[in-house]
Symmetry: C2
Subunit: 207 residues, 2 copies
């Protein structure tokens, strides 16, 4: 298998999703640093040559360029035959949680951390709005995990890698994650997978 | 094929996505009205019996209960053999745009319309924040549609039904959609599919 090349940067939980999965699959991969904080993803060159959506992660492999973390996770599952679905019903159950993650969980969590922690903006109405949505989504995930080890049951899948993307940033998260006991226990289970690393130990950051 | 049963309400663009697709597939389906504006999706009974995520749409068919519009579109494509993917690369390209839709387009567009048009809240910082994100996502879609008829090229797919979900509400959208010429032309193309109806002519509303 040729090397996977992942466009990423340390602060991106969306890039962490496939980075963590590549680690857990124990396949060789190479990180390509994207200088997000100096506007690289907003440049015309990046949109033209790498991703019209102006976002990381981007995965290049075997002549393909793939974008959107959920698509990349799906592709790595097919390429490695690990952490994927075993039936069409499983494929749709994974898709259900990846869509929920993108729309309801990652979206407000990532935006809130960006504003408060990375941009150091003062708390305002936007933060209240995002925090309420983030906590609502975490409540849904917590309820779902109350009687199962992983999102699909007993087995780790790409749905877990998607949903956990922003949740290992610890003190950078501007809300109390520890109130969600089942989520915390699930994060511990993912953390014990061979190869697990913190986002900042896995992806390059600006010096 | 047994009837499809779709939990929905007229104001939900997310429910419109599968409702429009069922129309375009010309299969029999039944709408089950969900009283969202009186809090039905937030009740314990709804979360327990219908959808733990507390959202519409929900599709019931052949003993299955499916949630998340993207999952439902995927399922209808498989059941009807219409508007789906023809290869794994197409499946992932559709997934890419459905994830983009959920995360970047539908999320701010639906939230902004909800606050301004449906809840009649005054413009504030949250609206500015959502409008900026909605317009950014529409710009990406507009650029993508500048040289193709539909999201995947020449053929209508479930990616189109996903992305257009909130864009037929016309004057209810609190921003200028007409500036996005390629998006407007694409909406006209979808509108000319046999069976097309406006969301309010397709799904029940509170009297």
């Amino acid at each position: 298998m040729t090397n996977f090349k992942l466009y990423c940067f340390g602060e991106s939980g969306n890039a962490y999703k496939p980075a963590l999965m590549l680690q857990a699959c124990a396949v060789p991969w190479q990180a390509v640093f994207v200088d997000f904080f100096n506007g690289e993803t907003k440049t015309e060159a990046f949109r033209r040559d790498v991703n019209i959506m102006g976002e990381v992660p981007v995965l290049q492999h075997d002549g393909r360029t793939l974008t959107q973390s959920g698509v990349i996770l799906d592709y790595i599952a097919e390429a490695t035959r690990k952490f994927g679905y075993k039936s069409e019903d499983e494929r749709r159950e994974i898709l259900r949680w990846m869509l929920f993650d993108n729309h309801k969980l990652t979206s407000p969590v990532a935006s809130l951390r960006y504003l408060i922690t990375l941009m150091k903006k003062p708390e305002d109405a936007v933060c209240d709005y995002l925090r309420k949505r983030a906590l609502g989504a975490l409540g849904v995930l917590n309820a779902h995990l109350s009687d199962r080890s992983f999102v699909l049951g007993k087995r780790t899948t790409i749905a877990d890698f998607s949903l956990c993307g922003y949740l290992y940033y610890g003190e950078e998260l501007p809300f109390d994650l520890e109130q969600f006991t089942h989520v915390m226990n699930w994060l511990d289970r993912i953390k014990s997978l061979p190869g697990w690393k913190h986002p900042y130990d896995l992806m390059p950051r600006k010096a």
